[in-house]
Subunit: 489 residues, 2 copies
């Protein structure tokens, strides 16, 4: 890649050749070329350009509010009170909302959410998180000193990877991630210069984790790098599975035996829809396996305000809990997070409300439960609907959406379309999704953006659009897939 | 440094020896050991421990609200409206606040600040930022596509450094930073494995930048690394100077001649107090130097909601503008920021209000101006007061606090105290500040945390405490310094 002539004239310092090559290696499909094209098309539609459709339907990103999901009233009342405490003098807000706001404000410097908090997060929020984790895990103890509030789960995940990753050549740190994966992981590993060690989820067994696959992936990786950590997303993105207790046990035993640091991405912990499925936190299972495991295996787990029933992505709230972390390393972690000063305080406040929601007897409890249940039931319905309709399409096979917010169906693509895509230098499923977008206005992300077994093709769609739009979307996908298959047969 | 025996027993993966060594190299004095000790002392006081003082006065961090500064009413009204749009139906808020909230909400996905925004930031906010910059810079054009909203200025600075830094050995990227510096820079460079190239500010000339110092620092650096960028903080942290127009011109010519990417940290742009001083943005001066410069020199400048008259640190709002950035590099920048999804939306909203504040004729204008002026005048008074009182202390010399929020006085330390500090393995000014803290409850940051000429000692104090507390603080520092000098003479 040569210097552009005008760079030479302009004597520019930072060019594609002189910039950090690791940044160049970063990919992030969820906001990649297909999404850029979708935004362009939206603009074209606004400018009056004629298309075979009148609106773009975006099912590319797990952004619930953008898809019309309503916020939880109680959360927003407290956030308004925290932003403008004058409102505490009005009698339009329920007492429990006011109490929560007073408690949060009292814990803020100068009583203002405009003050920096402690870098690890506001004390009382970390305490509330610890109580939540203990309740969730049936009493397994949680020390607030092990809880770090973060700028979304993304921030926590990247921070943990930063601590882990080092080395050059054959001693470069390897990090095991599931394929398909949420592309934050591959992006962060590329940026940090770590080795991405893939292990494949078993599509035939509803995207579960296979011990034998983990073993062979690790053995292979040990030949050329130093694998240190194993990342799991449960419930899964992009694959929508909920791992069984047995499976989690197996993974923990594997990590213990092989000395791997576990990173459990549990941002979808309330998003479980399928009968017979249940969320098991890695921490709880770890402790149930007894002290041989609970005293030894290092675990970082991540949560977020962005998903579950709240879907509050814009606030960038989240936390991580670290378990069995070496004390000196943890001191380094605390120092590292202090450089960025603190996570956004409104996001911390929101995280507090999530872990300390209205209780029975409090004035907001009934409304809160109604809203929460309605959102989760609707998601469960849409999960079912998506699976059912997609499975009626010849050439599309999809696992049940047991949890999270996504379906990741397998699509068979005709040979001719694969050839045409390759001729264009595109991944075949990117070619498919681009065509889908241009013809129907539906924006999905190709499976290649998340990783998949060679020779298989997928797309990821969220189940978040409102039911009527979701139905239109599914009908259009069905029609398109049939047409596309014919066209290239 | 050997493995702890219990690590061996616990078969731990991540130890101080196996972790990322770059993270270990990170230092961040603003929240370092002295602040931890201050927090401990606060706890001890709460627990009833007797001390020679009854409260800790923190002047260690530029956190205005924590020091009692009140938020701007208008900003908080709009933020409350954005958080809980039901409030738009109440008639307790002025129309201009409601209009701003409606406009921001309209630009959010699903009309909710709970949706992820575009990774670069909400379109209309970037447009407002661009208008603000044009106004500020007397009409120099600003393209909203060059504006990136960030999670505080910290995020923008680190992101730009990530793009710049690469290489190994003699081709490692060097980044020039002022000494004294704001330690985010040294911390980020350590984490990224870049070479920190120091240039010293001229304390004798009120912390101005010396061309000859820049030249010799660069020449020296070129012997062992590849210097690519030059960072300037103006108005200065920790040094409180405001650079003259001439000085900025010199720096730009220097950067052009030497092909350095400029990073201008202008988060204190409204914090200018001294007569005869004025804020000149690097961008404006760049354009006034004519096309030879304005078409060639690459510049990234940074702003924040955390400082100036608003002091809204907790919201983590900020922006950066990039100028003359290579198009391919900028595409890489846009990709990179997409991995973290988006900056906090409430922080973006706040940034919007800062750049689009109430205008004459709008209902909130008078109150807004009154609050803004009151805050800035009070800061100006405290800047003066701090300089005056400190300069009455024999052995303390301090430059005028022309801008920003800090004084960085030179302190002469008796030889005996220096020896004692060294015996304890402490920097002499750390020893001084620790003693000050233990004896008076005043929390300052030693100059060694920011860098200083060898053999000179300083501390940094903010001018943010309320006037009465600031007076107590200054009196106590005076008394302590005299006592300390006697004690070690
Ligand atoms: C599995 C997973 N982890 C982490 C994240 C990051 O979420 P956030 O940073 O908004 O908390 C997401 C977002 O989609 C996700 O799907
Ligand atoms: C010079 C300078 N730059 C950047 C920052 C970072 O501020 P924030 O990330 O809160 O915007 C600070 C904070 O004190 C600062 O003093």
């Amino acid at each position: 890649h040569a210097h552009q002539p005008n760079d030479v004239i302009r004597k520019i310092v930072l060019t594609i050749d002189t910039m950090n090559p690791r940044v160049k290696n970063v990919e992030y499909a969820v906001r990649g070329p297909i999404v850029q094209r979708a935004m362009q098309i939206e603009k074209e539609l606004r400018e009056g350009l004629k298309k075979p459709f009148t609106e773009v339907i975006k099912a590319n990103i797990g952004d619930a509010h953008a898809m019309g999901q309503q916020p939880i009233t109680f959360f927003r009342q407290v956030l308004a009170l925290c932003s403008y405490p004058e409102l505490l003098n009005e009698n339009m807000f329920p007492e429990d909302a006011k109490n929560r706001a007073r408690r949060i404000l009292h814990a803020c410097g100068g009583g203002s959410v405009g003050a920096y908090s402690a870098s690890q997060g506001i004390d009382c929020v970390r305490q509330d998180v610890a109580c939540y984790i203990e309740r969730r895990d049936g009493g397994v103890p949680c020390d607030p000193d092990n809880v770090y509030l973060t700028t979304g789960a993304s921030d926590g995940i990247v921070t943990m990877l930063k601590l882990l990753v080092c080395g050059e050549g054959a001693s470069r740190t390897g990090v095991m991630i599931s394929i398909p994966q949420y592309p934050l992981y591959s992006a962060a590993l590329a940026e940090l210069g770590a080795v991405q060690v893939n292990y494949y989820l078993n599509e035939e067994k509803c995207w579960s984790m296979d011990l034998s696959e983990l073993e062979s992936s690790l053995a292979e990786a040990r030949k050329h790098c130093n694998p240190k950590a194993l990342c799991i997303i449960n419930p899964g993105n992009p694959t929508g599975q909920v791992q069984s207790r047995q499976c989690i046990e197996d993974v923990i035993r594997f990590a213990a035996k092989e000395r791997l640091f576990l990173m459990a991405d549990e941002v979808y912990q309330d998003n479980v829809y399928a009968e017979g499925c249940q969320f098991h936190s890695f921490k709880k299972v770890l402790f149930e396996l007894g002290p041989e495991y609970s005293d030894n295996v290092e675990l970082a787990s991540f949560h977020s305000t962005s998903k579950c029933y709240m879907g509050e992505c814009g606030f960038r709230g989240g936390y991580m809990e670290v378990i069995n972390m070496d004390a000196e390393v943890q001191a380094q972690l605390s120092k590292l997070v202090s450089v960025r000063l603190c996570p956004p305080v409104p996001g911390q406040a929101l995280m507090d409300l999530v872990v300390n929601s209205p209780q029975p007897g409090e004035p907001s409890h009934i409304t809160f439960m109604k809203e929460r249940t309605a959102t989760l039931s609707l998601l469960a319905e849409k999960a079912k609907l998506t699976e059912q309709i997609l499975n009626t399409v010849p050439g599309i096979t999809c696992n049940p959406v047991q949890g999270a917010m996504y379906s990741f169906p397998n699509i068979s693509l005709p040979e001719k379309s694969i050839k045409e895509a390759k001729a264009l230098g595109q991944a075949p499923d990117m070619f498919y999704c681009m065509n889908l977008l241009e013809e129907t206005g539906i924006c999905l992300v190709p499976g290649s953006g998340f990783g998949q077994k060679d020779g298989t093709y997928h797309f990821r769609m969220t189940i978040l659009p409102p039911t009527d739009k979701l139905k239109i979307l599914l009908a259009k996908v069905k029609e398109f897939h049939q047409k596309f298959t014919q066209q290239y047969s």
